[in-house]
């Protein structure tokens, strides 16, 4: 009710204003986004009425303003669309900046990144590496498994320049070589060879140190004590690791390790055959 009284009062007041004043008031109301729409409609009603009585009273600019008022919801929709688009653009710009920063400085975070990676391949391998970075290449020897044996291991180790006795000359009957591979780095060359017979295995690991340096290998063992056996003037350390018998020794620049699940006696016999 209060609003209606005020509305009537405003209407009366408006009718007392001149057309020019009404136009000014209308512009002010339209420019003010939070204005009361009824005031605008009232002014327009008075102006139309005066225009009917005296045509061309309403200037074109006011018509345009009225059109804009009528199209206000539509314009607001368009504006909100523009705002949403601007926000998306802002988010995209921030995200792009973050991506550039994170991917551009991977070294600082110790993270892997596909940035700066280059493809590298040989006849049998393919890999991605960073320029200047190098990784190990392992050589796996191809042999005829049916007839392969200790001689292949001996030849491989000899080819690497090892002159000390390190390869056994005997293993129990039935064992054949199933795997042999060599990996080299700037300090050592590692030869791993495996002989198998049914469920039994004998693994020979030979680490050839190129410079004078202490052995690097850590052998896993159970809580039982270590047994020392001097064979061929070299101390061999014998131990167990959950049912596996292990021997380790050092001779010249070579670190030798034998692993087997046969028996401790057989392990000692294999070591004896080296010298």
């Amino acid at each position: 009710m209060v609003n209606d009284n005020r509305y009537d009062l405003n209407k009366r007041e408006l009718e007392t204003l001149s057309t020019a004043d009404l136009e000014l008031l209308l512009r002010a109301e339209l420019e003010n986004g939070g204005s009361d729409g009824r005031v605008v409609r009232e002014i327009m009603g008075i102006l139309r009425q005066r225009d009917a009585e005296n045509p061309k009273m309403i200037p074109q600019s006011v018509e345009v303003a009225l059109d804009e008022e009528n199209r206000k919801p539509e314009l607001e929709k368009t504006r909100s669309k523009h705002n949403a688009f601007r926000q998306i653009c802002k988010i995209a710009a921030v995200a792009a900046t973050l991506v550039i920063v994170v991917l551009g400085v991977p070294h600082a975070f110790g993270a892997d990144s596909i940035v700066e990676l280059v493809a590298s391949w040989t006849k049998g391998t393919f890999q991605f590496i960073r320029p200047g970075e190098t990784i190990a290449q392992t050589t796996e020897y191809v042999f005829e498994a049916e007839h392969a044996g200790l001689q292949e291991i001996y030849d491989t180790v000899s080819d690497l320049g090892v002159t000390v006795s390190v390869v056994p000359m005997w293993v129990p009957d039935g064992f054949t070589l199933t795997e042999i591979k060599v990996t080299e780095n700037i300090k050592t060359t590692t030869v791993q060879a495996k002989l198998e017979f049914e469920n039994l295995y004998i693994v020979l690991q030979i680490i050839i140190h190129k410079y004078t340096c202490p052995p690097q290998s850590q052998l896993v063992k159970d809580e039982n004590s270590i047994e020392k056996k001097e064979i061929g003037d070299i101390v061999h350390y014998l131990m167990c690791n959950s049912g596996e018998y292990v021997a380790a020794w050092v001779t010249g620049p070579v670190e030798g390790i034998i692993l087997t699940n046969t028996s401790k006696e057989m392990l000692v016999d294999i070591i004896r055959s080296i010298y």
Partner: protein, 144 residues
């Protein structure tokens, strides 16, 4: 009296802080294993600033998978506080793990900064029909 109690508290707190990681590390590395027989983690260098971050692991019998799942190159100014400067994982270097084999040796080349100390932290990994095994092993630190 208060001072003495304070000192005892500080010593005890420091002891706990230092003892916990040491015991966890030694316990992990000194027990028998159903997966690992021999392993080594070390920095191979020959006088310059270039080095190779190396590991070698030999399993118990043939493993379905053997190698390392990740390797961190860590850098230090004082040999006490370490910062990881490079992480190498199987995601980018699948060669870190080998399949159906007795063991695996692998290295990664890196250029050190002169005057800094480096060490490796490697997570060794093996899988066979019994399950999977892993051990986190540190190399000896090396000054450049």
């Amino acid at each position: 009296m208060r001072r003495i109690v304070r000192c005892i508290c500080i010593v005890l707190a420091l002891s706990f802080m230092l003892a916990l990681p040491v015991s966890a590390n030694s316990d992990d590395n000194q027990r028998a294993s159903m997966f690992f027989s021999v392993y080594s983690v070390y920095i191979a260098e020959n006088g310059g600033t270039y080095f190779q971050a190396c590991y070698s692991v030999t399993g118990k019998n043939t493993m379905q998978e053997i190698g390392a799942t990740w390797m961190e190159i860590q850098e230090s100014d004082d040999g006490v506080v370490w910062t990881t400067v490079r992480t190498v994982t199987t995601e980018f270097y699948p060669q870190m793990i080998c399949y159906n084999t007795i063991g695996h040796s692998w290295w990664f080349g890196y250029s050190a900064t002169s005057g800094k100390c480096y060490r490796l932290e490697v997570n060794l990994w093996a899988k066979n029909s019994l399950g999977t095994g892993e051990r986190t092993v540190y190399s000896d630190p090396v000054w450049f």
